[in-house]
Symmetry: C2
Subunit: 206 residues, 2 copies
């Protein structure tokens, strides 16, 4: 299946500013993007990047500088067949997790993200369009039902963990094994195990 | 399968103190516990509560006031057959998610929680004991491998979301449909959709 991976090529991952500078954020976002593209390809599907600007990857790139929702809906509008969308900041994505999103035969399949987001979806009907603002998982469920479709939902931790905030980095170190996990280790980020949930700290002395 | 659900009957959910008083925290913890017990029973298994003190539920309760790790290991020690453990603060747990934990035939199956925890595990070997301190999912993987066992991991958002902190309440409102979601709605907690991840706010005017 055609799998669109939207990517903010201009100022990605701004909420990681407390820990990484702008160049680092761009590098790290690129590492996560590569993890997602490899997971999609590993599941036997065809990833394409839908980017706000040029990006150096080994798959087709469409440049569309409109906001995320408009760009994805334009791509859905143009597409003649089924389309999947997977966000670019899923460094825990694996081929198995991607297959669990794409295998169900439902007209609309949703992968919830932490905090109400929608990290992945499959659209097999012209009756559905996306809206990534706010509690988008709730809105996407309601939009599907308004179109007479009961959406399927994939129950995946690996697809739910999008990396937006410093606290999310711990998940990458705990469960990741790809480019993003390697990038973090190279950047001196390590687990900080004290009370409650595990965090991270960064050694910048080298 | 025998499924132990450890429960802190004394001062549960202390990290929710910014939003709920002690009585409310106990009520809410009880609602989450009931959601977990019903998910386990719905999957065709036999839940038992392992509590620090008496608790009013319709399943067998063993009282053991030792810390979590010691109490669970004592129960594993005494058990003659396979045992599963599921933490009590998983209000998104469903019978399907419980089945995904218990169905794999591996000697050790792990369900990661957010922030490095272990929210569920299945133990089919006498060679494995638990340790819930710190980044327990990492430690449990290492313990299994040290015993010559490659642990299976269940990739489940519903089992990963344990409710410890106020931010976690949004997940219950977005994805829950059981006692805990109902309790939150009755307590005046609603989604707060602004920027970034969705949070919650509480109306206490009534």
């Amino acid at each position: 299946m055609r799998v669109l991976v939207p990517f903010d090529a201009d100022s990605p991952k701004s909420r990681l500013a407390p820990v990484f500078d702008a160049t680092e954020r761009r590098d790290f976002a690129g590492a996560m993007l590569r993890d997602v593209l490899e997971a999609v390809a590993g599941a036997g599907h065809d990833p394409e990047v839908l980017a706000t600007d040029a990006v150096d990857v080994a798959v087709p790139v469409t440049i569309d500088d409109r906001p995320l929702t408009a760009a994805v809906n334009a791509a859905l509008e143009e597409s003649t067949g089924d389309v999947a969308v997977l966000v670019a900041d899923l460094p825990l994505a694996t081929p198995a997790a991607v297959s669990r999103l794409i295998d169900p035969e439902a007209p609309v399949v949703l992968a919830p993200g932490l905090g109400g987001g929608t990290n992945g979806l499959v659209v097999r009907t012209p009756a559905f369009r996306v809206d990534f603002h706010g509690a988008s998982i709730r809105d996407h469920r309601e939009r599907a039902r308004a179109a007479g479709i009961e959406p399927a939902t994939v129950d995946s931790f690996r697809l739910a963990v999008d990396v937006d905030e410093p606290d999310d980095l711990a998940e990458v170190l705990l469960h990741g094994s790809g480019h993003a996990a390697e990038w973090l280790a190279d950047a001196g980020v390590s687990l900080d195990v004290s009370e409650g949930r595990v965090g991270t700290s960064r050694d910048t002395t080298e």
